[in-house]
């Protein structure tokens, strides 16, 4: 699978999972004949049959609840919810059932399943199509929350998610689906769910982000490097479980951190990361931590989108303020 984009990497991983494990089935709205609204499941119904890849009624709670039942009965379903903004009707099933079955049966039953959800803005989409509410999932014990930002991670983390004994929310950055291509050998099988990926090493400052915002974060790191700074970039990749050690180790080294996410500031997952750093690396901090995030508003429509999304400039200037302390 050389040189694929993120969308193709996910398609390939789904194909591999369906091929390797008869317990894997796919279900979701328009994922069969139409191949999904982002074509992520393109061709899978044709190659694996209508008894492996199911189109479903428009009923998110039903999709997740049915997949949950299947998982408890021993299958490894992969459900797709069409957009993160349409995952909320399934929130009750996820928090009250999917996340809890192991706990409430003391391991007797479990729900090895994946819920794939495209998320994030940047494509001028309609209302509810640009959500970045990962924080409401990362807070819930019993599930894992994974957000890849590269084709290789997408493939590796998805294959790991499918094999994970616990349920995994797999968030797919819409605006990166076709933004980056990279060589993803089929042999890249699993990427461990948990550890952050240090994408770039540096000594002066740590930029911390995940998913779609990695694009701007990388660009900001490049710009700062041109200004002569040595920048470390961390792709968190897994919000739950959170690799606190990985993050703290980096900030202990650099003494400075900027956290970048697309969700609104207040209650965003950046708060957790900033709190963690303060608790564990206070004496290493050379400057206040900064968060560069979406504003405390509803993700806007196309004409205001550029006002909302954290820009490379905002990241660079936050980094400068941090560096100049």
């Amino acid at each position: 699978m050389p040189e694929v984009n993120l969308a193709q990497a996910i398609n390939g991983a789904l194909d591999t999972a369906l091929r390797n494990d008869p317990r894997v089935v796919l279900l979701g709205e328009d994922i069969g004949r139409a191949g999904g609204v982002f074509r992520i499941t393109d061709g899978l119904r044709a190659s694996h049959g209508p008894d492996r890849v199911f189109d479903t009624p428009v009923a998110e709670s039903g999709i997740v609840g049915a997949a949950f039942g299947m998982a408890v009965a021993g299958m490894h379903p992969i459900a797709e919810l069409q957009f993160l903004g349409f995952s909320y009707p399934a929130y009750d099933q996820i928090i009250n059932h999917v996340a809890r079955i192991r706990n409430r049966t003391n391991h007797r039953f479990s729900a090895p399943m994946v819920i794939r959800i495209p998320y994030g803005g940047g494509i001028g989409a309609a209302e509810h199509h640009s959500e970045s509410t990962e924080a409401i999932y990362a807070h819930i014990p019993g599930i894992k929350v994974v957000v890849p930002s590269t084709p290789a991670d997408a493939r590796g983390l998805l294959l790991a998610a499918v094999e994970d004994p616990d349920p995994v929310i797999f968030l797919e950055p819409i605006r990166l689906y076709r933004a980056i291509r990279e060589d993803v050998p089929e042999a890249v099988d699993r990427v461990e769910i948990g550890p952050v990926r240090v994408e770039r090493s540096g000594d002066d400052i740590t930029l911390i982000s995940w998913g779609a915002m990695m694009k701007e974060t990388r660009a900001a790191a490049g710009a700062l490097a041109e200004d002569g700074y040595s920048v470390e970039v961390i792709d968190v990749r897994t919000l739950a479980p959170l690799d606190r050690d990985g993050i703290v180790a980096s900030v202990e080294k650099t003494g400075r951190a900027v956290i970048i996410h697309e969700a609104p500031l207040t209650g965003g997952f950046g708060g957790e990361i900033a709190a963690t750093i303060t608790e564990r690396a206070l004496y290493s901090l050379l400057a206040p931590i900064k968060r560069v995030t979406g504003w405390d508003t509803v993700f806007p429509l196309k004409r205001s989108e550029a006002h909302y999304l954290p820009s490379v400039d905002r990241i660079v200037s936050a980094a400068h303020e941090t560096l100049e302390v």
Binding site: E29, D30, G32, R33, A34, G35, V37, D55, T56, P57, V58, A59, E60, S61, G62, G85, F86, P89, G124, A125, A126, E127, H128, H129, L265, T266, W295, D296, T297, V298, P300, L301, K302, R303, S304, E305, A306, H307, Y308, L309, S311, D313, R314, S317
Partner: protein
Amino acid sequence: MFSLINPDGSVRDRLPLTLDEMKALYADMVEARTYDDKSMAMQRQGRLATYAPFRGQEAAQIGAAAALAEDDWVAATYRDAALNWRAGYPWELLILGRTGDERGGQVPEGVNILPPSITVGGHMIHAVGLSWAEKLSGSDRIALTSFGDGATSEGDFHEAMNFASVYRTPTVFLCQNNGYAISYPTSEQTRSDTIAVKADAYGMPGIRVDGNDVVAVLVAVREAVSLARAGDGPSLIEAVTYRMGPHTTADDPDRYRDGSDVTVWAERDPLERVRLLLERQGAWDEDWQTELESEASETIEAAVAWAESVPPPTFAEMLNRVYAQPSPALREHLETGEPSQM
């Protein structure tokens, strides 16, 4: 299935409308189709965000809206521009919304129409609450909610239908069964023979009507509106129609349907049968058609021009509409946030 006008323009029964009223309905459908065509073209030119065309569904939408009083509540969907417009939503605001501008939802005072719902299923219960409030306050305003076949699969459909019947709210449920929820055919979405029959589960009247017959829809919705206004509670109307175009401009219907149905339904075109009917009565000619189309075109062009002349929302506008008064965080954003370069 209740129907009054045949595809060839002959009628099954006396129509309860004057010729002028028929002509007005036809003119409205022509205007709506002009809007739809224009929007498809604009989207292709990158002037609109994704657009969901309603071609083929003009009769269902215009007929339903024509049954409403001016200040009734409407809660409809992204595909219901014709319905919303005929109920009072100005074209220019519908277009402004489709360019990706929240101010498209700011209908004039006196127009009681919620912005088109993008979530499938969530808005039906709003019509229940709106009309419940009217009932409690003793007004005779009712609410109509329009939704697709796909929306009937959502749990929210069930809760809305149940609340409406339990509290006997003056609510009209209009389902435009257009054959698909994106790629998923109605025939697979449910095992009930019709959508109308689902009303039985709520002890509510349910009727199936030819959704491409503007008068049949008008009559059916009028009946439901009268029941509601008289305090006799909600009804469900299933308007059987067909989505002639793609789901949205981002969709490729060839992936899930061959053209055969489209051909069949093209023969049942909602405008054509009224045109034929009028022609039979000597009330239609090419000149009038040309006049209608050019007037409609001008109207829509003017609406487009207005919408495109609206300056984009400022950074401050974006932050000032979340709460009645911005929160301290928003006030900080306003002070320190750098407006981005558009």
